[in-house]
Amino acid sequence: MVIYMAEQQQIDEVLASDYQAGFVTDIESDSLPPGLSEDTVRDISRIKGEPEFLLEWRLQAYRHWLTLETPEWAHVHYPEIDFQKISYYSAPKAKTDGPKSLDEVDPELLRTYEKLGVPLDERARLAGVAVDAVFDSVSVANTFQDKLAEDGIIFMPFSKAVHEHPELIKKYLGSVVSYKDNFYAALNSAVFSDGSFVYIPKGTRCPMELSTYFRINAANTGQFERTLIIADDDAYVSYLEGCTAPMRDENQLHAAVVELVAHDRAEIKYSTVQNWYPGDKNGVGGIFNFVTKRALCRGVSSKVSWTQVETGSAITWKYPSVILQGDNSVGEFYSVAVTNNMQQADTGTKMIHLGKNTSSTVIAKGISAGRSQNAYRGLIRIGPNAENARNYTECDSLLMGDQCGAHTFPYIEVKNPTAQVEHEASTSKISEDQLFYCKQRGLDTEDAVSMIVNGFCKQVMRQLPMEFAVEAQNLLGLSLEGSVG
């Protein structure tokens, strides 16, 4: 007991560290007034000058959304969201036409991204990362478009792609996540404002990491972005996604949809470091992160891996999934979900095996501290035609302190007798012995916990591209430093 009290005190001290991306950028913006109706949907479409087919699609989505109820099956609790109090569109002034060259981007915005450590200038070239920066509802900067275009690669803000590549948008939008899929996907489909669009042509290996950096700045604004990535036959792309938001007392809604399509032998690696504002330690404020992410392994021997490091958001509700339709296709999900203070996460994946010899791997690491609740929810479905399908799932929870919760909800549905499905799960604590061992070697509590946690997450961290791995490790340290039970 004595041991426990002393350690708990140290943990508490360390856990009191601040959210580092919580500043607000003082910039004028054009916003739609709060409220949601058919007119809102039409306004957004009009502001963006969208073609008729897209407005129609939005309206269908909106009408469908009206018939839906908020999902309540997740292991999270929050007050009812008033969808009429949210503004569905906010853009920094004078940037309504989308990004031009970096010289024309408001210096205040450039400074914002500089502060967040996201390089938008030429230095990005050294890092080998092309960036699309989405600020509230619009893309404000997009680098290396021309360079990538030389290889036939399309990487541009979604709203620009609507105009320049309407045939691709028409063909693929909603092809993986239908607007009928769920409540938040329907909402997103009705009001989405921007996001990134990527197309990698046949036989092309994208020469640099592509990344989108999402920032919610304006108050009372929701961010509803839409990302669509298509890798044609034999193409390869690695895509990174980062997110932050200012510290505000009100909850803000983030309801994104991400769709990935991999054709024959194509491979998409999608990595996320999610650091939305988690709210303060009493659970006031923070982002509601209700996101639908899904990939379709459409072609034979195609492969999609999701890697996510989730440290932010007041509530996380997301299940990046893979539909393994092509024979021999491969789906992977590597996840670290950290919850602290009053954060709640219900996250996991779905692996839907349809094709023959399809295989999937799920490695989910949950870390809970403070009074947070962290749930893994995963579905492995093996369809009747999925001969010789394989799945391996490993689900590990690490608890810090005695007031947090870790939960595991695995669902396994097998309709083909040749399938092999494995599920392993463990729950552990950072032991006092581990902590003392590190301290006796000269490490302070923060460094010791950060090291132990990073060790726990190693299987996931090593899946991240190098540029991101360091950021993710630091973030883990910042969000959690120091916890034992």
Partner: protein, 253 residues
């Protein structure tokens, strides 16, 4: 180097140490022997700074400062090293990462810059030879899946790297076969120096054949009941701990 004066300590209200007095000068090697439950591990834990003990009386002075006022990591940075009886596994954290973090923590305290990767590797390789460990150990998880002997050698490797002023070896001989005991002992002997003090906690005389101490103390029931030179250990081995109880009962020295 180390001066322990009338140290009393208890855990959960139960008194374990009942007035320990011990002075260790620079360059000396002391052995503390005693039966199970005599307080040997408690003493080493308290010196190293583990939480959970109530110090009810007495003081521990290290290089002129009150050691008990310092957090464990500061003691380590200032040169107090504990070779653990049961080194803990830290899954996923590579040995080399911990070694580097530990060395840099000590160097930072000394006002030195971090060692760069190449210098560090060169240094670690030279220390690996000392304990006859293969370089692959550096890349395995800390103590993860190590045999008992490997864990103990790994402790001595850390000691060799960190070059502490005061090293406490807690039952470093336990669980070692004779070959491993020789390797570990040779490693420790190579680290003996006029600036370094070593306190060996052990149950058996066997270790002292390989690491010959300057002084031997017998700990019983929370007190040092007898002190002497290496001959005392041999006498103990021949006569057993009951001999001490019989002769020392009620008359602590």
């Amino acid at each position: 180097m180390l001066e322990i004066k009338n140290l009393h300590a208890s855990i959960d209200g139960k008194e374990i140490l009942r007035g320990i007095n011990l002075t260790v000068n620079a360059g000396e090697v002391h052995a503390i022997m005693g039966p199970n439950g005599s307080g040997k591990s408690t003493l080493s834990n308290i010196i190293a700074g583990r939480d959970g003990y109530d110090i009810t009386q007495g003081e521990v002075i290290y290089k002129g400062d009150n050691l008990l006022d310092m957090p464990a990591e500061v003691r380590a940075q200032r040169g107090v090293f504990l070779a653990f009886q049961y080194p803990v596994e830290i899954p996923g954290v590579s040995n080399i990462y911990l070694l580097k973090a530990a060395l840099n923590a000590v160097r930072k305290y000394q006002g030195l810059d971090d060692l760069d990767a190449i210098d560090f590797l060169t240094l670690v390789r030279s220390k690996l030879e000392l304990v006859q460990m293969d370089e692959q150990f550096l890349h395995r998880g800390v103590n993860e899946g190590f045999s008992g002997g490997e864990k103990k050698r790994n402790e001595i490797l850390q000691m060799a790297l960190l070059e502490p002023s005061l090293a406490i070896l807690d039952e470093t001989d336990s669980g070692l076969d004779i070959d491993a005991l020789k390797v570990v002992s040779e490693g420790v002997n190579a680290l003996r120096s006029p600036e370094r003090s070593i306190v060996m906690i052990t149950h058996y005389q066997r270790l002292l054949d390989y690491i010959v101490p300057d002084y031997v103390h017998v700990l019983s029931n929370g007190q040092i009941v007898k002190s002497g030179d290496k001959e005392l250990a041999k006498e103990l081995e021949a006569k057993g701990y009951s001999w001490i109880h019989d002769t020392a009962e009620g008359q602590p020295i």
